[in-house]
Amino acid sequence: MNKYLVENLSDIKSLQQLPTRDGYGKGLVKAGEKDNRVVVLCADLAESTRSQWFLEKFPERFVEMGVAEQNMATVAAGMANYGKIPFISSYAAFSPGRNNEQIRTTISINNVPVKIAGAHAGVSVGPDGATHQALEDIALMRAQPNMVVISPCDAVEAEKATFEAAFNGKPTYIRLGREKTPVMTTKKTPFKIGKAEVFMEGKDVTIIATGPLVYEALLAAHELEKEGIFAEVINLHTIKPVDEKAILESVKKTGAVVTVEEHQIMAGMGSAVAEVLAQNFPVPVEFIGIHDSFGQSGEPDELLNFFELTNPFIVKAAKKSIKRK
């Protein structure tokens, strides 16, 4: 196991559980402490996006926008144009969902460093149902030139991602989850935007995961190990720019791939990986993700199982991918 990760990872009861949005809240405060150009805008969701924590510390640099995501994007674009470092906070379904064109024109084409935090992404939002479970936000954001796309695996990584994004000088999307999920990384785990991390080394199949489902990928790798199958697990926290080198290095060794994400399979992280492989080193790829459907109400665990995103399904996909070699 990776020496930079939390010990006894397969013992879920021993792990701390935190939502990635908490990491965002902490990262905002840290970035705000370092640089007073950092401003936070929020569309009437301060508490649930954790931008509240920034508001409490720096009320003069917090801007309440009301339920107006389109205006939030354009106002932030203006602020970034002036020289501020604005973070805009809402649910991913609304931002970048509702304000996609404003992000495209006034942030991406303008090429100004606005940071878009899309909270409550994926079906693990739970009871709120399909309208609030963003499953196409990665697709929207990765198709925009100039945009960096990050999907942190846990709260600790989300804090690092938020802090680093503040100072990368680029339009950046940060994808966050609502639910408490296992904390796998520590302060010492390396994190650099654009650089994928190998969380577990293996030789038979590469499991590339993003977001909190990285934990399910690790559990799947443990299960496979019991059967003598050694999976390499990569945390692809930055979906754009995608770390081609890390992917190819691993896949040249293993020759088979499974991608894991809480997002539509179409145009998501798995597609980004497939684009790299198809052009450089074609091998079998199995996709764990949402198969062209919307989410629905239910408990997060229930939904993750219903949509076949948990470790037993990853194990099955890994075996299938290996068989197709």
Binding site: A77, G78, M79, N81
Partner: protein, 293 residues
């Protein structure tokens, strides 16, 4: 009050902008005619009198910001910028052509001095509000101006921004609405009635001034009045004539998106349109100059 001599000078300059606009559009073979002709006086007033700017240092921190929301009218902005010294007048010939810095809709990343990328309507007022808000946070004294169309008052984003600017009392923000009553599909009041615009903005906590947008002196007075308003952002409802300066096309919405050479043929055949418009503008130039002597 601005002196009469300066006004005359600006009027002659605005006429020159119109002539260059027509030449530029003919060369480009596409682009908008009516809106830019109507806005020639306003852009002349901005670049040659109102704005505190430096064409040789377009990123100067204390410059006034001029945000163009209705990006399709950019040809007149380009003409004014070229004459103000942002780039060679000769470059106007490249408008809308492959590899040009003068994109069909303006891009911040391509042409120094263009403050924001625009074209998709309804997004300029928000960006201008963001700049004004940030400037206010930092106690900066430059002013932010946003030119927008009446057609883009159809867009929800515009009203979200109007609410935001009113809430935050952005007194350093002046929006200028090009109230020319036309949009692509017809007259604004038929497409989606906008009136009463003054009362709407007043209800959103704006100070509203109505002015003749083709009267440079009156427009400059309105801009000056806005500077004296401290508790609210100001909207200048600038009533303009689309196609202003070329009698035959004034008020004709069919000239919204057609360049001379590709417009409706009821007055002139296509190949005579550019020439005819220039002739008319020349005649106005002669009249203005003789009045001046």
């Amino acid at each position: 009050m601005i002196d009469q001599e300066k006004i005359k000078e600006l009027e002659i300059l605005a006429n020159k902008m119109r002539q260059d606009l027509i030449k530029t559009l003919v060369e480009a073979g596409s682009g908008h005619t009516a809106g830019p002709l109507g806005l020639a006086d306003i852009f002349t007033a901005f670049y040659f009198h109102i704005l505190n700017h430096n064409p040789k240092n377009h990123l100067w921190e204390d410059r006034d910001r001029l945000i163009l929301s209705n990006g399709h009218t950019c040809p007149i902005r380009y003409v004014a910028m070229a004459h103000a010294g942002y780039f060679p007048v000769e470059e106007l010939k490249t408008l809308r052509k492959f590899g040009t810095r003068l994109q069909g809709h303006p891009e911040r990343d391509k042409l120094p001095g263009v403050e924001t990328t625009s074209g998709p309507l309804g997004s300029g007022l928000g960006q201008a509000s963001g700049i004004a808000y940030a400037a206010k946070m930092d106690g900066r004294t430059f002013r932010t101006y946003c030119i927008m169309s009446d057609g883009e008052q159809d867009a929800g984003n515009t009203w979200e921004s109007a609410m935001f600017a009113g809430k935050n009392k952005l007194h350093n923000l002046t929006a200028v609405m090009d109230r020319n009553n036309i949009q692509i599909d017809g007259m604004t009041e038929n497409i989606m009635p906008l009136e009463p615009l003054r009362q709407k903005y007043e209800a959103f906590n704006w100070h509203v001034i109505e002015a003749d947008g083709n009267n440079i002196a009156e427009f400059i007075d309105a801009v000056e009045e806005a500077k004296a308003v401290f508790e609210k952002p100001t909207l200048i409802l600038a009533h303009t004539i689309p196609g202003k300066g070329v009698k035959e096309i004034e008020f004709d919405y069919r000239w919204h998106g057609s360049p001379p050479g590709k417009g409706p043929e009821d007055v002139w055949p296509k190949d005579k349109q550019g020439e005819a418009m220039l002739k008319e503008l020349k005649a106005i130039e002669t009249a203005l100059k003789s009045k001046n002597e």
